[in-house]
Symmetry: C2
Subunit: 236 residues, 2 copies
């Protein structure tokens, strides 16, 4: 079982096997899926400090895309850390300690790198399926974000820097994490005792301290329209 | 950065932050996505020996779902082993040897377990997005398949055993793998020197040695109609 069979090979072989059946190569291409969905698959990658409003903005855009009949999906800590990138503790019971130790993800530098790498790979699959995937993760390291950009098809990676001053994010502090980080209860917290590397050439920079989320969402949707990712909305 | 912010928390906080904006909780639910797609998300998990016709059947069903206007996507060795479950050799250049050694997947028992686990987790995300995902992998171990079933929502996991006698699969031998396994060039090959554990209670068993793939595809599509996963096709 050194690799699973390739569809092309299987199809041609099956056509000449015990049951003699011939059919057209049934593969549905990415272009087919995009045509059916009426949009171009892509990855909207929201990066920024904790509390900058990444998830809020991503959810708002997801909602508006849905309302327009577009096909989208959100990847965030809520649905990714539960299974795909589960912590070791979530894997022990079913898979054992050695397995959990190797594949479970914590918050070491290496674990964070793999966390973002897997999310990038899954985002790619969603884009291949013709969906607009919205990924909202702090993703503080430029190298990790650039790695995803480089492994995706050209124009698939849309980096959106959700920019807000640390003071604003810290004042919001939705989960009380900044407070804990300042108290030394959390180590390696982005912008407190770990770096945040700003994107150098993001597709979009949105200022979440100066503008309401609806306006930022409109800005992103307008960009998606102008670049042909989604149809232009009918003005009513 | 010990966890990414939760959307619910962020939304309520953002609403009361520097910019005073209030909006309805914009989360699009799975039910919303399914309603828009006119189908129920689920995972069609094709299991069976190498050469049994899993990928052929999955591609044919994918094609027919697409033709009906359903939203589907295929996960197979072709698109999964390239990035998400890349071999160590594919990760070294970008991530270094230690990283590649830990997270890259080969063909050891543990690596295969993680290969199937990640595919299950990704399948789950696609089902959450309202898609019908078709996963075609030998997946020889009952424990690994059952683990996916248990971690998915009830009724999301549709196990389809693509059954064909070893002799038939070996005669087809689409990639010459059985020949290599018999010659001892491949070790641990399913049904040659590694076990294949038949599903005990699969949702469907299809006999790919006795029936043409089109007929098997119709059988699966009929099952999807009867269980309400997809609308009943209009007879023409």
């Amino acid at each position: 079982m050194h690799s699973d069979q390739k569809k092309s090979t299987t199809s041609s072989t099956a056509a000449g096997s015990a049951v003699d059946v011939r059919w057209h190569e049934p593969t549905v291409s990415r272009a087919d899926r995009e045509k059916a969905a009426g949009q171009r698959g892509c990855v909207l990658w929201f990066t920024g400090l904790s509390g900058c409003g990444k998830s809020t903005l991503a959810n708002l855009i997801d909602h508006q895309l849905h309302a327009r009949g577009c096909h989208s999906f959100i990847l965030d800590g809520d649905n990714v850390r539960l299974k795909l990138n589960a912590a070791p503790g979530l894997l022990i019971e079913r898979h054992g300690a050695e397995f959990a130790q190797r594949f479970g993800l914590g918050f070491s530098a290496q674990d964070r790198e793999e966390n973002i790498r897997r999310i990038g790979a899954v985002s790619d699959l969603f884009a291949q399926a013709g969906l607009i995937v919205l990924a909202a993760f702090i993703s503080p390291y430029r190298r990790d974000r650039d790695a995803i950009r480089e492994t995706l098809a050209p124009a698939d990676f849309v980096e959106i820097y959700v920019k807000a001053p640390l003071e604003v994010c810290e004042k919001r502090d939705p989960k009380g994490l900044y407070k804990k980080a300042r108290a030394g209860e959390i180590k390696g917290f982005t912008a407190i005792d770990a770096p945040y590397e700003e994107p150098l050439n993001p597709e979009l920079v949105v200022d979440s301290a100066a503008y309401p989320a609806e306006q930022l969402a409109d800005e992103v949707l307008g960009w998606l329209e102008r670049t042909g990712k989604i149809p232009t909305a009918v003005k009513t």
